[in-house]
Amino acid sequence: MTDSLAIRKFSDLANPTRFLAIAERVLPWLAGLCCLLFALGLTLAFTTEGDYQQGDTVRIMYVHVPAAWLSMMCYSVMALSALGTLVWRHPLADVSHKAAAPLGAAFTLVALVTGSLWGKPMWGTWWVWDARLTSVFILFLMYLGLIALNRAMDDPSRAARVSAVLILVGFVNIPIIKFSVDWWNTLHQPASVIRMGGPTIDPEFLRPLVVMALAFTLLFFTLHIMAIRNEIWRRRVATQRRMAARLAGRGD
């Protein structure tokens, strides 16, 4: 009985072990490239001309838009992982969406705060219940809820399955939320809906934006791989501790 258990554990670990080996090799390159892109992106961001309408504040766009883009991409990654958990029962998928949730929350937070700091000089207020802002805020709450759910459960594989269900339900729900918020806002505030994005983007702004978006995306993947690795280690520590407890009982 202990034998078959050991064998199952072993095959479960096979994939993560391979993942750890690959991560070990890929991570330095990813991190290095990410730093380079950030250096390039930041130089571009501060050397390009300001917008004639928005002045310097347009530079906020170079962090705000990539962060907002990542907040959505991260959720898509999590939804994919959730599918992996529920359909293919891939052990790495469990770990992947659990590790991504704090990252998504952090990037969403950056998007919210920078958006707010952009909104104050442009609109004269920190926050409006504009459809897009509201949706991002709801996304933020969903990330936090997922983190709380993961923390509240002891058994990692059960937590992974339950939160996978929640992620997928959330994913399906996103268009509905978006639609209803749109409808709600235009219903109440037909005239003064403030559109973000402003003027059509000219190549002068596009270049730093693209570089920064790339840099952020790479940063996300670097951190995601690191977080997955941490989570794998955390689970190994847990299994080994349980084993140590069993062995201590047998030893005496």
Binding site: F10, R59, I60, P102, V113, L117, N230, Q240, A248
Partner: protein, 58 residues
């Protein structure tokens, strides 16, 4: 307040959050690695004495 203030503030906040995230991830990884090393150190002794059924975690 000038526009530069908002620009700097938003970059500062973004940098703060991202650095926080990076440092947290690093610290978490180091702590886990240390725990594994500790278990390994405690486990090797015990495993050689008690049970040969060990799995390699390197």
């Amino acid at each position: 307040m000038t526009h530069a203030f908002y620009v700097l503030a938003s970059y500062a906040v973004a940098a703060l959050v991202i650095f926080g995230l990076v440092i947290w991830t690093f610290a978490d990884g180091r702590a886990r690695r240390r725990e594994l090393a500790e278990l390994e150190a405690a486990g090797l002794r015990r495993r050689s004495a008690a049970a040969p059924s060990g799995k390699s975690t390197s």
